[in-house]
């Protein structure tokens, strides 16, 4: 393998890892803190992608594509936060502790979301223009790397660092980390953990929506099933990384993203996806709590 191919596959794999991380980190925190398997999480991703497509194709009065993309980014993120908040506030909150109902409700939201987006905007893939600078290529070690991939990677790293800073340095972060470990004990210290539930859902929604924006750029378009398809890999990333661990999710996203890219390139398209499932099985056999997860109490 030439160095150029190695660099290109690595950067592409890491870009994909960034998208996985953004959707999986919220999923992991939601499951770790609230024991909620949020099957609606893919919808937050789709919302981000479609909001970007909508703004990029309809807001033509903003002539600069760069500025338009910035506006799209902000609107998509806010929409993701709002949909995440609303999902917890109006649906999930009533059913804490009731796993079957949670799964049915969030699956219902997820499928309804696909139908709603498909019915409204059609089931065809939608593409959107991206700013000129994203279409350029950078030459790294002889490899021609699309700038968009580097941008995806940079935004993901910034958000990872930001998320870790919030978790480590703020009181909300402290409560979330403690709650992931032992929710009952947090309540027994006089802290209303339910407030953190809403916050985590909203932030998870915002992060997944940013994942959707970047996913739309990475895959050069969006479809109504976009989020649902990503959700499968996001779950794999969460389980391999360890439920509730943001660091584990980041590490696992990198492993899954790189594995998929390299194996797909060398062994043929589709084999990478299969390899990831095998990785999941091996992790569950050898380290069921995930790479950086805690053994369940």
């Amino acid at each position: 393998m030439s160095l150029q191919v190695f660099v290109l596959l690595s950067v592409t794999g890491l870009g994909l890892a960034g998208v996985y991380f953004l959707i999986a980190s919220g999923l992991s925190l939601i499951f770790g803190l609230m024991d909620v398997l949020n099957l609606a999480h893919g919808l937050f991703f789709t919302v981000g992608g479609y909001a970007t497509w909508w703004v990029m194709t309809r807001f033509q009065w903003i002539e600069s594509l760069g500025l338009r993309f910035l506006v799209a980014f902000l609107i998509a993120t806010v929409l993701g936060l709002a949909v995440g908040w609303a999902t917890e506030r109006f649906f999930v909150r009533r059913f804490y502790g009731d796993h079957v109902t949670q799964i049915l409700i969030t699956l219902g939201i997820s499928l309804a979301g696909v139908a709603l987006v498909g019915g409204w905007f059609s089931y065809d893939p939608q593409t959107f223009p991206v700013p000129e600078f994203m279409r350029q290529v950078a030459v790294i070690a002889g490899a021609r790397i699309p700038v968009s991939r580097l941008l995806i990677l940079a935004i993901s790293v910034v958000l990872l660092v930001g998320l870790l800073a919030v978790l480590r340095r703020t009181r909300h972060g402290l409560i979330i980390r403690a709650g992931v470990e032992n929710r009952q004990m947090v309540q027994a210290m006089g802290i209303d953990v339910a407030k953190s539930f809403t916050l985590v859902f909203a932030v998870g929604g915002g992060l997944a929506a940013i994942g959707g924006i970047l996913g739309g750029v990475f895959f050069a378009g969006v479809t109504p099933e976009f989020g649902l398809n990503m959700l499968i890999f996001a779950f794999i990333v969460v389980v391999i990384g360890g439920l509730g661990s943001v660091e584990g999710t980041a590490l696992s996203a990198v492993i899954v993203g790189l594995t998929q890219q390299f194996v797909n390139f060398f062994a043929g398209a589709g084999v990478g996806d299969l390899t990831v499932v095998v990785l999941l099985a091996v992790t569950l056999l050898l380290r069921p709590q995930g790479l950086l997860g805690e053994v369940a109490r």
Binding site: R177, E181, G190, E294
Partner: protein, 263 residues
């Protein structure tokens, strides 16, 4: 034993109790199921202020269940009045905010957080900064190991952290569940000494399997048997009658050096 007996026993407790004033906690007909098992069958007792009350009984009799239901960590029926206010329908975090602090069985420190972070979670209480100084005085080890992850502490150190965390709370009632469980005899001595220091003038409901520890810390005792209060009175009265103690707890004064009474 019927609830009436317990109520009478608590009411006729002697001069000390009347000095303490009205009970801080009144529990009436507490009934708890855990899954299929019916654990508490109408438990009634009072806890007097500024005294340490030991909740005793054989293994599996429902002592921890009692504490968990007082905190609404388990669903229960019956009436609990704390500091004059009924707690029915009040969720866990609000019960704690009203003045009940909790030291759980098995410590339950947040193992992934540092010692300092574990304590910081409890620092939102009024006056917590001053009390942190006292906690560091009673448990200097916690200051020394501030940046260490709680999961890497020894059992005794984790117990100190769990106690320290609860002592930051300006609590009117401290629920402490088996503070010496699983600790080496020398560590038990250390924890008991610290508890004696920390609980002076505090109101404590203490679950303790080790009768000698309970005797050292508590002035009052409530004994549970088969899901009801079987006996209540002063600790001195309880241990004065060796046969009764043996009947209620399975250990007597003479045999306390054994498995149940190690110290």
């Amino acid at each position: 034993m019927p609830a009436d007996h317990a109520r009478t026993a608590a009411a006729t407790h002697g001069p000390d109790r009347s000095i303490g004033g009205a009970p801080i906690l009144e529990v009436r007909d507490l009934d708890v199921h855990r899954g299929e098992a019916h654990i508490l069958h109408g438990v009634s007792f009072d806890v007097a202020p500024n005294r340490v009350t030991a909740l005793l009984g054989r293994n599996g009799v429902g002592k921890t269940t009692t504490l968990l239901s007082l905190l609404a960590l388990l669903p229960s029926t019956g009436e609990v009045v704390f500091d004059g206010d009924p707690l029915s329908g009040v969720p866990t975090h609000l019960r704690v905010q009203r003045g009940i602090a909790y030291v759980p069985e098995d410590r339950e420190v947040f193992s992934q957080l540092t010692v300092e972070e574990n304590l910081r979670l409890a620092m939102s209480w009024e006056g917590a900064s001053e009390r942190l100084g006292l906690v560091h005085e009673v448990f200097p080890e916690l200051k020394r190991r501030e940046s260490q992850k709680a999961g890497s502490l020894s059992g005794g150190q984790q117990q100190m952290l769990s106690l320290g965390r609860a002592l930051l709370h300006p609590a009117k009632l401290l629920l402490i569940d088996e503070p010496t469980k699983g600790l080496a005899p020398i560590v038990i001595t250390e924890v008991v000494d610290a508890l004696q220091q920390a609980t002076t003038d505090a109101t404590v409901l203490l679950v303790e399997q080790n009768l000698r520890v309970a005797e050292e810390l508590a002035t009052d005792a409530i004994v549970l048997d088969e899901g009801v209060v079987a006996w209540s009175g002063t600790m001195d009265d309880l241990v004065a009658d060796d046969e009764r103690t043996r009947g209620l707890l399975g250990v007597g004064r003479a045999t306390r050096g054994g498995a149940e009474g190690q110290r």
